[in-house]
Amino acid sequence: MTDVLQIRDLDVSFATDAGAVKAVDRVSLTVAPGEVVAIVGESGSGKTVTAKTILGLLPETATRSGAVILRSKDGQSENNVVTVSKDQLRKIRGADVSMVFQEPSTALNPVYTVGWQIAEGLRAHDSKLSAKSARARAIEILTKVGIPEPEVRVDYYPHQFSGGQKQRVVIAMALVLDPGLIVADEPTTALDVTVQAEILDLLRRCRDEFGSSIVLITHNMGVVADLADRVVVMYQGKIVEEADVRSLFANPQNDYTKKLLAAVPRIGQRIEAAERKAPIAHDAQPVVRADNLQIEYPGRMGRPGFKAVDGVSFTISPGEVLGLVGESGSGKTTIGRAIAGLTKVTGGSLSVLDSEMNGMKERSFRAKRSSIGFVFQDPASSFNPLLTITECVAEPLKVHRKDLDARAISQRVGELLEAVQLPKSYGERYPHELSGGQRQRASLARALALNPKLLIADEPTSALDVSVQARVLELFAELQAELGFAALFISHDLAVVDILADRIAVLYHGKLIEEGTGAEVLGAPKDPYTQRLLASLPVPDPVAQAERRRMLADLIAGTPPA
C-alpha cells in the first residue's frame, strides 16, 4: 500500500442525552502521498468526526468500528488507529499524522510560550532531546512558516500573535515532526478573507516543500477550489461523491453536490427575487442619515475609550438595501446597533426615522421602535429559550399593539410565520427545537411583526450553512420586494452582500472607505483595501481561482501591506 491514509468502512456513534447519534456511516477513503484531499459537506455531516478518528481523538462517548490505517512517511510502519494500543497511538500522533485546528486561538495553550508548545511535541517523541536543540528546531520551523523574527517570537505567548500568525504557529506545530499526513479541520474559517488567502498559501507550501499529504476539511467551496486535488462530499454521515477537483466543479454527479454548488453565493450572481425588488424612493426623506457618525466605547476604569466608528457618513432611502461589509472588528455591528438605539452615539449625527440618535432619550425613542426591525446574527441566542416561538414572535405585538386581543395576536403570528414559510404548528415549539434556518426565519418573522420601515440585519446568515443561507437570502429578498422596507444588511461576505444590496459600503477600521453600487464597488474597486479584499475571496471554481491567486500575488507584491 502506498496510500498515507486508508479509511475502510468507518462507523462512529455518540452517546448523547437524546440517545445514540450516528455521526459517520460506513465511510471509506484514501489519501495518497502529497495529495490534498478536501472533505466538504453541510454542517454536521461528520467531517470533523472523521478527522478526529484519524488521530484517535474521539471523546469517550464515541464508539467506532472499521479500519483507519495510517502509514508513516518513510513507509516503515502501518497502524490501524482503531485497534492500536494507547501507547502506540500516542507515538503515531504527531509523528505520522498531525492536526491543524479550526480556531487557532483555542488550539494554543494560553499560558505557555509557543516555543515551549512546539518543543512539547518534539519531546513527546524524543525524551532525550535537549532543551536547547528543541528550541533550535522550534525557531527553525517558525522561520519556515513565515513568522518574522522567530528567535524572538519563539518566547512569545499565543496572545501576542495575530490570528493569522497563530494559525501559522499551529501549522508549525503540526509540521515540526514532519508527519506524512496533516489533518486540517476548517483551518481558515475563523480568519478574515485576506488572512485566509495567506494561510491557504502556507498550506500549499506544506505540501510542496514538506511533501505532506493534507486532509482539508471545509465547507467553503472557494477554499476547496483553491487548494484541493481531490474532493470527497459527505452528507448525513455518508460519502455521496468523490472526484478530482476540476471534474467535481465542472460536472457534479450527486444531487446534493449539485445543490451545494448552486447554493454557494458568487459575486455578480443575481437571484430572481432580488430582481423584482421594491423601488427606492430616492427623493423622500432618508430613513437613516449618518453624518460624520462617531461611536466610542468607553474605556474601562479611566482608560481612553475605543473608537469603533470614526466619522462615517451614509444614507438609506426608503426601500433601499444598503450592504455593509468589512473585516471582523471594523465596526459593522456597532453601526447597526447604534441605528437600533442599542449603542450610544458619541459624536456626529445619526438620524433614524427623523429622530436624532445623538443624545437620544430611550423614552422618546420607544414609539419609533415599532418601525424598526432587527435580525440578529445568531438565531439561537436571539430567542428567549423559555418562550415558545409564538410567544417570541408575539412579543412586539403585545408591547405595541395594545389594541389587539389574544386572538388577533395569534392570528397575526400565524400569518407572519407563514410569510416566512414556517408552518403555523412550529409556533408551539421552543427555540431549541428548531433548526438554525428555521430559527432565522422565525427571527425574521419577529422583526417584521410590526411592518417596520427599516430592517437591520446583522450577519443574519453567517451562522448558517451555505445551502440554508441561500434559502434565507432568497426569502429576505422576497419579503423586501413585497413589503418594501429599507434595510441595512451587514455581512462580511462580499458575495452575499452583492446579491441583496442596492448599494454597498465598505468599512475598514471604523472608517467608510468606499461606497457605491455593487457593480461600482465590486466591479471596479478604487480603494486598495477593497481590491485586496476582493482578490482574496476564493471563488468556487478551480480554474478561475488559479487565475485570481496569481492576481492576488501581484497585488500584494505591488502594494505595500496596509
Binding site: 454536521g44 464508539t63 452528507y235 408591547v399 428548531l434 433548526s435
Partner: protein, 350 residues
C-alpha cells in the same frame, strides 16, 4: 460545534416532567455520576423524611427528661429504652438526633428561602439597572462576603438574640444569621447571570421592539437567571447546616429546650468523647456528616450534570448497532424534512 438538536421533540408532557430539575438530571446521569447523585438523593431524602416525620419517629420529645418510669438519667449507655443512650443533659440521644434533623431542615429552609428572595431581588435589580445602586450593592455585598461567614453569623445572632428565644425564635435567629451570610452569594450569582443575560441577543431583541424594563426583567431575565438556583440551594443548604452547627458549638445557637440542635449536642458531647462515652457524639456527628454529605453530593452532581463537559454519558453498545438516522443537523438538512429545502419547496410559495 453544535450538539444535535432533536427536531422531533418527544411528546410534550413527558418532556415537561423530564425537564423538572433533579428528575431531568437523574435521567441524564450515568455510571458513577448517577451513583453519586442517587446516593446524595437517598441521603437527602432520609434527612428530609426524618425531619418531617420526627414526631412519629422519635421515641421521646427533644426536651423530654423523664417518662412514666421516672427520669432517664444522664449519660446512660445504650439500652432497650434508649437505643443510643442518653446525653449529659439526660436526653435520649436517638430522639435528639431525629428532632435535630427537623431543626436543621427548618433552619436550612428558612435561611435559604429568605436569602434566595432577598438575594434574587437585589441581584436582579442591581444587575439589570446597573449604575450607582449596583456599585453600592456590589461593594456592600463584597464587604460582607469578605467577612468570615461564621463570625458574621455570630455577630448577627448576638444582634438578633436580643429578643427572647422560643423554638421558632431560635430557629429564626439562627436562620437570619445564616441568611445574612448567604444573601451576598445569591446576589452575586443572580447579578452575574443578569448582567450576562442582559447582553444576550434575546434581551436586546426585546429592547429593540421597545419592551419595558419591568417586563424584560421578569419575562426574560428572571426566569433565565434562576437556572443555577437549585444547585446553589443544595450547596448552601449543607453550608447552612455546618454554620448552624458552628454557632451551636460556640454557644450562639439554639437552646436544648427550644429545639434539638446537632452542633449544640456535639459541643456538649466533647467532654464525653474524651471520657470514653462515645454514644452521645457519634450518632449526632454521623447524622450531621451524612446530611451534609447527601446534600453536597446532590449539589455536586447537579453541577457536573449541568456542565456538558463534566457530564458522563452512557456508552453506546456498538458502532453499527442501535443507531437511528438521527443526525439531523442544526442548519436543517438540505433535502429531507420540514426544515430542509424540499420541505420549503413543498410548503412555501403558497
Amino acid at each position: 460545534m453544535a450538539i444535535t438538536t432533536p427536531t422531533a421533540a418527544p411528546s410534550r408532557k413527558k418532556s415537561m416532567w423530564r425537564r423538572l430539575p433533579i428528575v431531568h438530571q437523574l435521567s441524564q446521569s450515568v455510571g458513577i455520576q448517577r451513583g453519586m447523585l442517587v446516593t446524595g438523593l437517598v441521603l437527602t431524602a432520609v434527612f428530609v423524611l426524618t425531619a418531617l416525620l420526627a414526631p412519629l419517629l422519635a421515641p421521646y420529645g427533644y426536651s423530654q427528661l423523664r417518662d412514666e418510669s421516672g427520669a432517664f438519667g444522664a449519660q446512660r449507655p445504650p439500652s432497650a429504652e434508649h437505643l443510643f443512650g442518653t446525653t449529659v443533659g439526660g436526653y435520649d440521644v436517638l430522639s435528639r438526633v431525629i428532632w435535630g434533623a427537623q431543626t436543621a431542615l427548618s433552619v436550612v429552609v428558612v435561611a435559604v428561602l429568605l436569602s434566595i428572595f432577598a438575594g434574587v431581588a437585589l441581584g436582579l435589580i442591581s444587575g439589570y439597572f446597573g449604575g450607582w445602586l449596583d456599585r453600592v450593592l456590589v461593594v456592600i455585598c463584597d464587604a460582607i462576603y469578605a467577612f468570615p461567614t461564621l463570625l458574621l453569623a455570630i455577630v448577627m445572632s448576638i444582634a438578633i438574640s436580643g429578643g427572647q428565644s422560643s423554638l421558632w425564635g431560635g430557629i429564626f435567629a439562627a436562620a437570619i444569621s445564616i441568611t445574612v451570610v448567604f444573601i451576598p452569594q445569591y446576589f452575586r450569582v443572580i447579578r452575574a447571570e443578569t448582567v450576562r443575560i442582559k447582553s444576550e441577543a434575546y434581551v436586546e431583541s426585546a429592547k429593540v421592539v421597545g419592551t419595558g424594563n419591568i417586563r424584560i426583567m421578569f419575562r426574560h431575565v428572571l426566569r433565565n437567571a434562576t437556572r443555577t438556583l437549585p444547585l446553589i440551594f443544595t450547596l448552601n443548604a449543607s453550608e447552612a447546616i455546618l454554620t448552624l452547627a458552628g454557632l451551636g458549638f460556640l454557644g450562639f445557637g439554639i437552646e436544648p429546650t427550644s429545639a434539638s440542635e446537632w452542633g449544640f449536642d456535639l459541643n456538649k458531647a466533647l467532654s464525653d468523647v474524651s471520657s470514653g462515652i462515645w454514644w452521645t457524639s457519634v450518632p449526632v456527628g454521623l447524622a450531621l456528616v451524612l446530611a451534609v454529605l447527601g446534600m453536597t453530593l446532590v449539589g455536586e452532581s447537579l453541577n457536573d450534570l449541568a456542565d456538558p463537559r463534566l457530564r458522563g454519558r452512557r456508552a453506546v453498545a456498538a458502532a453499527s448497532g442501535t443507531v437511528a438516522e438521527t443526525s439531523v443537523v442544526p442548519g436543517g438538512s438540505l433535502t429531507a424534512g420540514p426544515g430542509g429545502l424540499d420541505g420549503l419547496e413543498n410548503e412555501g410559495r403558497s
